[in-house]
């Protein structure tokens, strides 16, 4: 009989920390044995998250984020801001612990690009070569052998999965890609800011951060690899009055005329052996609720012959597939478990 894998979580108080706690309740091969928070240390998880009352994880006592203390874990999730993550991540690796970093610190291969977009110095650049970008549909084998995972950003996950088959097949012009992305409010984090109050978000809709969202270089890096050429995208983000969910509407121009059936075949083939991406039947378009609480990425395809465009609609749950659920997929893989172990498959509907 196999042993339970011991997991740690640095930064339990944000929405990604909360989501990881939620997912861990159902995992039978991995147990959360450490959860840290500078501000909440000493309390149990159920005290800060009453939804965990009478559940096993509810009694776990939150501790200070001490690498020595975390060294007993097999794998540690970092749900802390960038810059903080690179430091503690590096210490944990030295202590022999595998790391899944949910921040942006190890996602950008190029130190200068990272520093230009994130406005901080990268002090652990020697690890950039080793870190594996944790998108299992693209890097399954590498992930299985890794000890440091750069867990993808939420927007990049939806954008890259939406574009991968088209770019790999050379279907679309690489110089004319527009990604119009919309995200639920949990993507803005759990910080106490006026802009995130219920009355500032509910019953409204707005764009934000145009045209320099920090997820841009991450998207460009990965889709350039897929296309085999450098791509610059127009990536633009909006705030939805919903808790969870990203829908990216991706506008591309077909290199040559193609029917939607032809495109659909390319996509279904690409994801045939990747069950967590669901290329929808023709005529169906994704809805964020259809992936709510799960790691599914739902993809819908539209070809507009009037403008010769292929429009890809890609929906994920930003907290689950876009953060903690994908982190758990990666942790599963680097610990020798099945990709989807412990993960909820049935979306919350309605």
């Amino acid at each position: 009989m196999s042993q339970i894998i011991k997991a740690g979580l640095v930064g339990v108080t944000g929405y990604t920390g909360m989501e990881l706690a939620r997912l861990m309740v159902h995992h039978s091969s991995m147990e959360l044995v450490k959860a840290t928070s500078r501000s909440e240390a000493g309390k149990t998880l159920a005290q800060i998250y009453p939804f965990l009352n009478r559940l096993p994880l509810g009694d776990l006592v939150i501790t200070q984020p001490d690498p020595a203390d975390l060294a007993e874990c097999d794998v540690v999730f970092l749900a802390v801001p960038h810059k903080t993550a690179m430091e503690i991540g590096s210490e944990l690796l030295e202590a022999g612990v595998k790391v899944v970093d949910l921040s942006a610190d190890f996602r950008i291969n190029d130190k200068a690009t990272y520093e230009a977009w994130y406005k901080v110095e990268h002090t652990r650049a020697h690890l950039l070569g080793e870190a594996v970008y944790g998108l299992p549909e693209l890097y399954l084998d590498k992930i299985m052998g890794a000890r440091l995972i750069a867990n993808p950003g939420c927007y990049p996950t939806s954008a890259i999965l939406g574009l991968a088959p088209a770019l790999k097949a050379g279907l679309v012009e690489t110089g004319d890609i527009v990604i119009d992305a919309k995200s639920g409010a949990s993507g803005a984090g759990r910080g106490a800011k006026v802009g995130n109050l219920f009355c500032e978000v509910a019953d409204s809709f707005r764009a934000y951060g145009l045209p320099t969202h920090r997820h841009t270089p991450e998207i460009e890096q990965e889709i350039s690899k897929l296309a085999g050429t450098d791509i610059t995208v127009s990536f633009n983000t909006h705030l939805l009055p919903i808790d969870r969910g990203i829908l990216s509407t991706i506008y591309t121009r077909l290199k040559s005329a193609a029917t939607v059936e032809q495109v659909h075949e390319i996509y279904t083939e690409f994801y045939a052996d990747k069950p967590l991406v669901r290329v929808l039947p023709l005529g169906q378009l994704p809805e964020t609720r259809h992936v709510r609480g799960t790691v599914f990425c739902d993809i819908g395809l539209v070809v507009d012959p009037r403008t010769n465009r292929l429009i890809v609609l890609s929906a994920i749950d930003n907290l689950c597939r876009g953060a903690s659920g994908q982190a758990l997929m990666n942790a599963n893989l680097i610990c020798g478990l099945d990709l989807d172990e412990g993960l909820p498959m049935a979306p919350m509907m309605p």
Copy 2:
């Protein structure tokens, strides 16, 4: 090795049918082998519920509700309107199938009371004596031996669980109970009515059905049994602009002064061996999101010495604990499985 239990579902197109489909995805000892709908027969589940794409249940073909066809099931869930339920339920019992009826048809022990509140004739009254009211915290043993379960209503589940310890212990006056209940919009069903449109429900709040909601006699029947005396309650309902969730604020008057600590002890003791009811620590009050998607009932207790009132707050998910999740608890029990088998424990947060 034990055999998989075969389950059927009559009426798959409403929200309770949808919820049962969602829950079945994660059940490893029971399989949905039949799902019926007069209007959607011939389609697969994934065609009407795209959230089931690439999941095992997605390929199940919907059939017409034919009792002969359903006779191969070990247990059948009835998610159809009252009156229809009593008829098909009776036929299924004769065919040797166990039945969990989500309608009101077998909840009221007294034929005349049923007919007075539901305005239809009860044509299967001979089964009323046999039907077991499916609230496991009160009737666990009876349920385990039953072949016909009257699955409780959503409001009654929250009200009865909230009042049971106080009434059993004789804490409160039985002549002065007010239940102010608030429900999410899925409780109104999936019928195409103007009053249930997004723009009629969102960003608003209203009471409805006062003072004669049909769940009144069901609540009175069960709490009268608990108290050992006939109780008439003031039960009043409101519509919340949320998908799921009921919060009942229950006002009672203490027979004699008691501290909230004393009341809390009575409640925790009552539910000590019933893990799906969570009596919250003093100072915490329930939130509907903390039970979202689960069968938990969360109970908060307040004693107001100024008015000598005990106020009980009771939260459930109306679709899960208030309907399909509780139906599955009952089906588990009558099929010899554990009460919570296959049920999600971790609420969807946020």
Copy 3:
């Protein structure tokens, strides 16, 4: 031709300040000439409230809250926290300016009661006798002659208007009143707190502050006057996932049996000459959206002969009738204008 009345607003950055700015756009006899904020002084209103772009008020420059500077106003609205309000209010009165205080500082007639519930010393108690409780349906004449208005709280406005006719007519037992009140999130203010974030409020419902909400003594004071006897109420509050709106469900017990028609007649007569309270036709129940953005109070009546209860449903917009709109009604009156001048009459629907 009459002169434009000059108004000032101390505290423009909260939701009540924002609401007053919104209402002032449409007032042709009163002009907002001063708006203050410690944190935003120097900016224009349109800079902090882009919804005022290209509107006359948009160019008003926010200033520091200096009483000398405000002395040019005919009337000043105080939209600041309690304690701060009593101090600046007292200074303004001395400078000859009329004051409408939206805080609780002058609402409670009894100094000791105020201090017991608000946990601060009342340093301007000499003004308590002069301050008029600004509920025009009860104190129209007094308000017209006042120079200091204690603008009612949001919950008290809905509760008192809902109970007034019944108590005045001696219809109900005064010892058995329960007010179950539900409010939109703007009632919690615009402070940056985690508990008010979109993801903490949306798609959920909860009670809070039980059983000692600070609006309790204010309600008890006013309904005791109406009844001519001291009343203790059970007043309990809940948080709705909507921006605006309060619905209070008020449970009372009839002294003797009465039909709903009889009660309805008493209510319609009471409010016959008070057009801003709408006693709904029998069979209709209020909805918060039907008063959204207006100063209407909508009242629905239910008599339950089974329990001999009169249930009153009272809906207002917490920001408008419950705060800034009522403040403007009061300012109109003390400045010699019509009660409803400048106020929007048509609710935002949907």
Copy 4:
């Protein structure tokens, strides 16, 4: 002293009819004297719209849509489906009544194009030449002299106003325009359809109707006129879980490099004398709530030098500026009143 203008409304039960009733409450120079509905004739407006209780319009009795009966009106609004509108509109014109048609029937200049997109025969094509497209920022003079107004669609209003200055100035490539539009649920109408239920729309987001939304030819017709050349656009629509509001994110490619300041100057100049379009200060982006309940169109500008794109964000209230508010602007103009008479200027915030 001028006479009150008599207005009629054909089709009062939908959201555009409801919105027109709301707006008419505040109009002092125009009075709604006729409101028709086949299904609700005989009731008062307040009976179907309780928000009109105790307001003047509340007592208006709904009648059957009889052209002879409507002939006493100076102007009639048609809030009925296309095809029905052309028929009744034609009869009213013959009776000497001015008509503002909110349907699509007279928007498309070319009969064949109309019939291709709307799949019905245009039986009143002789009126197409006379009908004036009711976008006052483009056709003010023509509208003032018209007797038949084709009131613009909601999406086209936001798209055309967003593109007009850029196209008129020849700033952008006409062959590479993508309009990614998002609308609140009231845009789907008040029909009782499962897809519009609260539980199907709330807490979710989806695209719909791609790539052949019927507003496409209307947009192309008007922007082609502005550009002086035929334009084909990629126009794509999404459903927001909000009541009101459209935000269009419009992607264009600059013909030659330009700074955002240069573009901003072109836009502010274009709209300098058109106060109902608000070109936001640089750095601000529009939010649908900032125009809620008003006829404002808010425009934000972004230039992305990395991709050489001009991104225009254009926000309106789909029911007000996108339908009934603009209809009232047009009615004002054809009746000799000021453009904004009777219209609310202050958005509902929050």
